[in-house]
């Protein structure tokens, strides 16, 4: 249990094989140093070095990185295969988009968002749109709404000990249902097109490159803070308990804990992170639509974490960013090739390298078991 409690050091450590004998003074500062380096690169260097266009893309990838923090928590640590993160990403995204739409409409003196005028929505603004005119309410909802939905499903599912494959399928079905529902409500949700074409962001002009940079900085800082928070959670008593539940739920139950609650916390926190990512995605990319949150993107949220290393926080986040980057680079130039590559990534990463790239070093050395990923026989039934 102790070997799994700390994620592998993110620093490009060129430690000698005799790692345990490394000077304790240096190793103590390795993680904070790597974190600081990452922070400087993301917040300091990237905005200076990258063009507006590339920085916008990076902002998008970092949003996927934020989702990956939650995936690493729920799946990597908790063993909960969350195939429906798109639902929470979408709820956060739509909450934010609805507010931006209403704010844009108010700025031009309209009471209805432009697409509603276009579709001729009858009976004025739907009641469930109305509270989102309030910026504070909308901001709180971007995180609270996904968490509430996750809590509801989580309570129902975990209390009755529905787990493993059942849970994965249910969370996937939820993603399918939400996407289908959004498409069906054309007049109030924008249907297949989703919500797009935002002008302002809390009083700032979104089309101004300076404000786009501000959005990028917000996203980068959010990612860094969440990673630091998640790391603290991993090394806490709760983090140990979560791994214990993943590896042997019955044993944890016999020890007097309620595994349902442990799993619920991980699931709800992961949902909140996905919701926040969705909310930040909207101003950065300028669209939220059912195609971004259905079954396929929901599984896409998992692939990055799987490739990078689900149990390693840094691995999961870097994997998510790298896969998102590869997707937008390759899928434009060579769409068929990307699909094959994506499939192959799944097969190879999950099938043959369950610890992801983060475990490559240990696997190649063949000494220790891939960090964290330990599966017990018969975890599903």
């Amino acid at each position: 249990m102790t070997t799994t409690s700390t994620p592998p050091a993110p620093a490009p450590a060129t430690e000698p094989p005799a790692a345990p004998q490394a000077p304790p003074f240096l190793s103590r500062f390795r993680t904070p140093a790597a974190f600081l380096l990452g922070a400087v690169l993301l917040v300091g260097v990237a905005p200076l070095a990258l063009s507006d266009f590339r920085l916008g893309l990076l902002a998008k990838y970092l949003c996927y990185g934020i989702v990956a923090v939650g995936v690493s928590l729920a799946w990597g640590r908790g063993g909960l295969l969350v195939l429906g993160q798109g639902v929470f990403f979408g709820l956060g995204g739509y909450a934010m988009a609805m507010h931006l739409k209403l704010a844009d409409a108010a700025a031009t003196g309209e009471t209805l968002p432009d697409f509603m005028l276009l579709y001729g929505t009858e009976g004025g603004l739907p009641w469930w749109w109305q509270p989102f005119a309030n910026p504070a309410f909308a901001l709180v909802m971007t995180v609270l709404l996904p968490m509430a939905v996750a809590a509801l499903l989580g309570v129902l599912v975990f209390r009755r000990r529905v787990k493993g494959a059942y849970f994965a399928i249910l969370s996937q079905a939820l993603a399918a249902a939400l996407a289908i529902w959004l498409v069906g409500q054309q007049a109030t949700t924008g249907g297949t097109n989703g919500l797009t074409d935002f002008q302002g962001f809390f009083g700032y002009d979104l089309n101004d490159p300076v404000n786009q940079r501000m959005v990028y900085i917000i996203i980068a800082v959010a990612l860094l803070l969440l990673m630091a928070g998640a790391r603290q959670l991993f090394v806490s008593r709760y983090g140990e308990l979560l791994i214990a539940v993943r590896d042997s739920e019955e044993r944890v139950r016999f020890l007097g804990y309620n595994p349902a609650n442990v799993k619920l916390v991980a699931y709800v926190v992961a949902a909140g992170m996905a919701g926040l990512a969705g909310a930040l995605f909207v101003p950065a990319v300028g669209i939220i639509s059912p195609a971004l949150i259905g079954v396929v993107p929901s599984i896409g949220f998992v692939i990055g974490a799987a490739v990078g290393g689900r149990a390693s926080l840094v691995g999961a986040v870097l994997g998510a960013i790298a896969v998102a980057w590869a997707q937008s680079t390759l899928s434009d130039a060579w769409p068929a090739g990307w699909t094959y590559l994506q499939g192959l990534l799944f097969v190879v990463a999950v099938g043959f390298l369950p610890g992801g790239l983060a475990s490559l070093r240990t696997v190649l050395r063949g000494r220790r078991k891939a960090d964290g990923v330990r599966t017990t026989k018969g975890v599903t039934t």
Binding site: L81, L156, I169, W181, V347, T380
Partner: protein, 294 residues
């Protein structure tokens, strides 16, 4: 009254399609506890088999009859190959099989797109199946009746195979207690592969049936796979009876809800209903009784 009967028939025919798809799934899921996301692509393979046969033979009736066994073999071989290449290596990690087979399904979809093109293709139904019969004011499409009959035939065929043949006995033994079956001298690995062959073959035949209700394309299977998994989950893993009852119940519920609300609301309500049902019976309608804690 006529409306209700018409809707019920629609529901029953949705149920028949779900049943055909879930039948193979419940077999493979029940046997090894693995979740085969590529099952949808085996359906697609069956559908394209029909298309190819019709292109080369021309006669819709003969090609449909021929397509059933050929699709069984094609999809079955694909399933056995997948089991041999990947799934047997992931035996102790059932959750990971879900992701691995999802990767396989992505590649197979793209392969179909590269071979047959991205747009959907349409096959001709035999003349016999294009019409409809009218009973007590209810219009029953011949093709839907054929699917219903075929689904029931598959259920009885599979049930008979499981109950009476030596292979069926071995499959049941492995489902009920793999370790005990192993020490009793049953080559469980071989049984697994045969089961996968049969389960995937059934998916292929479901694909043949799907060509009768609409155009087919690279994503044909994916559209049904989540629903089919829900049937297996609610019915209870590895139980034919559960799959039959659940498939028809979900089909009926779906069609009744679609009639009284909209398609999208119906989907959401069905999902809520399933989660509520699992509160009552977390292991599904019928379960294989074991003494295991989990």
């Amino acid at each position: 009254m006529t409306v209700i009967l018409n809707q019920s028939f629609t529901g029953v025919s949705i149920g028949a399609v779900l049943l055909l798809i879930a039948l193979g799934l419940t077999l493979t899921f029940g046997q090894m506890g693995v979740i085969n996301m590529a099952h949808g692509e085996f359906i697609m393979a069956g559908a394209y088999t029909t298309y190819v046969l019709q292109k080369s033979i021309g006669d819709a009736g003969i090609s449909l009859l021929l397509a059933l066994p050929v699709a069984f073999l094609v999809a079955g071989s694909m399933g056995a190959l997948l089991e041999w290449l990947l799934i047997r290596r992931l035996y102790t990690r059932p959750l990971d099989t879900l992701l691995v087979t999802w990767g396989v399904s992505l590649m197979l979809q793209q392969l179909a797109r590269d071979i047959f093109g991205a747009p959907n293709v349409q096959t001709r139904a035999p003349d016999l199946l294009t019409g409809s019969v009218s009973i007590a004011g209810v219009t029953l499409a011949n093709s839907r009746l054929f699917i219903l009959g075929f689904a029931l035939l598959c259920v009885f065929g599979l049930a008979a195979t499981l109950r009476t043949t030596p292979l069926g006995r071995r499959i049941r033994a492995v489902v009920q207690n793999r370790d005990l079956a192993e020490v009793s001298g049953i080559a469980t690995g071989q049984v697994d592969r045969t089961t996968f062959f049969i389960g995937s073959g059934l998916a292929g035949m479901a694909g043949v049936a799907l060509t009768l209700i609409g155009p087919i394309g690279p994503t044909t299977g994916t559209n049904y796979i989540v629903d089919a998994f829900l049937v297996v989950v609610v019915g209870g893993i590895g139980r034919l009876r559960g799959a039959v009852i659940t498939a028809f119940a979900l089909g009926l519920l779906q069609s009744v809800l679609e009639y009284s609300t909209t398609v999208s609301v119906a989907k959401v309500v069905v999902l809520v209903g399933i989660v509520a049902f699992l509160q009552w019976r977390p292991q599904g309608l019928y379960t294989v009784r074991t003494r295991s804690l989990v």
